[in-house]
Symmetry: C2
Subunit: 253 residues, 2 copies
DNA sequence: ATAAAACCTTGATCCAAGTCATAAGAACAA
DNA sequence: TTGTTCTTATGACTTGGATCAAGGTTTTAT
């Protein structure tokens, strides 16, 4: 974990926090009136931290809440009919998990902490009620869901069309962008997931992930020390992924 | 196109139609009061049919509306940095296209008709307003988006983990389920997309799709005549995909 | 501190699916 | 109708990444 990324003092009481939270501009980036922020605040429950490996919710459990990651990282996955885990996403601070549960009131995936992780629980029925009263909040929820749909479609492109190098490069650049958005270094960060989990997510064998990373390092695209990654040649990495330098979003994930 | 699936008389006036539409239970399956259905009706514009190959909206265009397919089929795709088309979805009657445009008010994909296709245009800002007044409508929109997220995640599993046989079988069973839901035959239908488009969508070469389909036919899993497909051995196909016969949804798409 | 378990790397081998090539239908336009 | 283009099928060949195997390193638990 980057040193800058301190375990935020997890205040025991449900005091108004969204206003102070450094993530508020990302998690539900709304220009809400103070009064409305307080109303939002009141429906949010800040939970005790999850330890590494702890499960936030299980596939099949009744859906009640979506969760915003405050610190740490989660993975979501489901168990296939043949019993293997299939990772469907990684979630960093400010990102919302559980949206796919709305459809039939059941989580279709499980969510597990990759490291010590704190989340805000947002009971969805309350969010829905509140969103009727605050149009900009409703719009925000639509936006977040819409973005998720768009992102997942980019992920489908990645899985269907890209080779191992492009997959790994896309993955690293995607993480880089997510760190950057939260004010951390875009070029130097720590992977909270194992190579195996990266491979599982990208549709690659562990060995392939390992080899690609080694090769990237040899070619001086990145610098690797265990889980610490530094991107050295960002332009070259972007070229690999097929990003025109000006159009940050397209074709990256 | 199945003979049962007549080109619905496309009434030129914006008269109330949702009530009569055979798809209403699927497209936004709500138990709305009559009065509310009328309000929904009034914001919906029924457009002239699109001919095969016509584009409904272009990647990059400003987002204004989502569209419900009434008859025919659409594909959505984006153009990658290397200039090739990447298909991200096929849309059958009752299905909603364009939800990924909400996020930044721009369609991140294009939508094109695979055959003569009619759609209902739903201006999103109106839908949003109306949804503030009709909570069950708002909930329905959340549900539709949530389902899309879940479905796309299943698609990611398919692309990342499945082999060619499993991909094609999943694709055919998925179509089968969608036809069935609308009251058509689950075992006998017509593909409105080419083998090339199927391959593009599934991350396979045309030749592979062709070979798999030929092999399925040889093994008497399906019966093929050009674009007409009959599923002969449904249980075997389901086994191939890894569906427990009782849990229709999981692991299928 | 030490053992056990999980994770990462690298090499050797293999195979599923991609690519290339060809040819025969289908769909379409003039 | 006839040519042109698109689509599908099938064979021969190639290859990227999976799998198998083994050894080293890091993390976790006691």
């Amino acid at each position: 974990m980057p040193a800058t990324h301190t375990q935020s003092r997890f205040s025991s009481k449900l005091s108004s926090q969204c206003q102070n939270c450094s993530l508020s501009a990302l998690c539900l980036p709304i220009a809400l009136a103070d009064e409305d922020i307080n109303r939002l605040d009141q429906i949010i429950e800040r939970k005790r931290p999850l330890k590494k490996g702890e499960v936030l919710f299980h596939q099949g459990q009744p859906f009640n809440s979506v969760f915003a990651v405050r610190t740490g990282t989660l993975k979501t996955f489901n168990i296939t009919s043949s019993g293997e885990e299939q990772i469907t996403g990684f979630y960093c601070p400010s990102e919302l998990v559980g949206l796919s549960g709305i459809d039939d009131n059941t989580y279709p995936i499980s969510a597990k902490a990759l490291e010590t992780t704190t989340v805000c629980e947002i009971p969805f029925s309350h969010l829905e009620n509140l969103s009727s009263q605050i149009p900009s909040l409703k719009h925000q929820v639509f936006k977040v869901m819409s973005r998720k749909i768009g992102d997942d479609q980019q992920m489908m492109v990645l899985l269907g069309k890209k080779n191992a190098d492009e997959k790994v490069a896309s993955f690293l650049l995607n993480l880089s962008n997510r760190f950057k958005k939260r004010g951390y270094s875009a070029t130097s960060f720590r992977l909270s997931m194992s190579r195996g989990e990266v491979g599982n997510y990208l549709g690659l064998a562990v060995e392939t992930v390992s080899r690609v990373i080694t090769r990237f390092q040899k070619n001086e695209l990145i610098q690797v020390d265990g889980k610490e990654i530094s991107i050295i040649d960002l332009p070259e990495m972007q070229k690999l992924v097929g990003v025109a330098p000006d159009c940050g979003k397209i074709a990256q994930f």
